[in-house]
Symmetry: C2
Subunit: 277 residues, 2 copies
């Protein structure tokens, strides 16, 4: 029987869930069912949730873990009565921070993921449409306006990473596929012409050929495209190109989109246009 953990917020629940998952990821041997409960922003909703928590406690035979970032005092007070082991982030840290900063906290809900200024909003929308318009080398080539151009073989993670960089950090990320079409006379991969003026903006992705074959197999089963021989050759050629051209690159095999994106930023020093909220 798994034990239940509740991540509770009066806003989106993103912070509570992110922290809760980080903490509970450290207990890999414990079977925990995780539930995120966002927008608990009224006494009524809080009372309804307390009933759900009580139900879980009875069903599990153990008290739930309750991790919350509720700001509103009245709502907190209702949740306080629920049976559970409580990780109360705000009450733990806000008081000491108030002392250190010699000011009172505003105790206002939903500040973290609020929309932000008009400029921030526009930057984000621009960046998303920039990533879409400059995806896969296909449509427009606004590479003069790009913060970074991700390169790599088909299905190594360029598109999701470009979109994540846009949404999360407002970074204008184009991406361009490396394919057999761009070979010199000796059969070596060469830099596509469209990228030549922008060598300083390039960032390479590479991937284990076996993993690449598995991903491509999902798309086109039993094709030359997804064969291990083809994948080995494409990856070798791409890596050789990166080395020859001194293009910085990372291996995405064991990395999530979050890790690819944040490592790229850390390695290149590219400025975010805004910060995640």
């Amino acid at each position: 029987m798994p034990r239940t953990a509740f991540f509770i917020s009066d806003g989106t629940g993103i912070t509570a869930e992110s922290l809760g998952r980080s903490l509970l990821a450290q207990f890999e041997n414990v079977d925990i069912r995780m539930l995120t409960k966002p927008y608990i922003d009224s006494i009524e909703k809080a009372r309804g949730l307390v009933e759900i928590i009580e139900g879980a406690a009875v069903k599990d035979g153990e008290q739930p873990i309750i991790i919350d970032t509720i700001v509103d005092q009245d709502v907190r007070n209702v949740i306080r009565d629920a049976p559970g082991f409580k990780v109360d982030i705000f009450s733990t840290f806000l008081k000491p921070l108030e002392q250190e900063l010699a000011t009172h906290s505003s105790y206002s809900v939903g500040r973290t993921h609020a929309i932000g200024s008009d400029d921030v909003y526009m930057d984000r929308i621009h960046s998303v449409h920039f990533a879409l318009d400059n995806d896969d080398g296909a449509r427009t080539h606004q590479y003069d306006k790009a913060d970074v151009i991700l390169v790599g073989v088909s299905r190594c993670g360029k598109t999701p990473s470009s979109l994540y960089l846009a949404l999360q950090f407002g970074i204008r990320a184009a991406n361009y596929p490396l394919t057999e079409d761009d070979q010199d006379e000796d059969g070596n991969l060469k830099l596509p012409k469209a990228l030549e003026p922008y060598r300083h903006k390039l960032f390479g992705l590479t991937i284990d050929p076996r993993r690449l074959a598995a991903i491509r197999h999902e798309r086109r089963p039993n094709s030359r495209y997804s064969s291990i021989d083809q994948c080995v050759q494409e990856v070798q050629q791409a890596e050789a190109l990166y080395r020859r051209m001194h293009i910085p690159f990372i291996d995405t095999t064991r990395f999530s989109v979050e890790e690819i994106s944040t490592r790229m930023i850390a390695e290149t020093g590219i400025n975010r246009r805004f910060s995640p909220r």
Copy 2:
């Protein structure tokens, strides 16, 4: 002179930054410069960072705020020597959690945003490509496979929301624009034909016409498309359609992409295919 806050992690820094911003957002009157320092995963990097923190302390004339999710004990010990007011998330909560769960934490780095199982990875990639292929009603119409179809006038936030839903939650979100092309004889907006079989999957977005005009103005300045009259009329017609067809909808005017997405999930009860990591 602003005061400096450091969000430090031996992984992506996403959790530390998310929590740090949530806490500091409660002190709107304090001028704080926020710096995220991810991948502090060696003694050497930690020592380098301590020097940076010392520099900030001298420059600011006040000790920095240090919010960290470092798991590795040796790295933590180095950071401990830095001058600063420390919000030490893991040491504050892991010990009590160990007691409650009657087990030891694994103290392993980078679990939160790790790549996850192959299934989770594939689901995420699928969802991103699904959102791209089903963006703006343009290319393929795989609406039978969609978890949700976002509808709304041009530039009300459909595309960024669809992509966020895909990346963050693995939800397959198509989106379809409501335009003047779909009117009945009386000049009322009618449901586009392609959407008729999928009325139960529709979720509407609406927006304040003035805000819409400002967003459209960025794209096509001084056009009919961005005129306030045009925006008022399109928004009125869209909202009338939602009401007539009983399509649930939210007003995105004051909402970020995170809020639009999490509220849509909360209101529809759509299941995430995976959880953010």
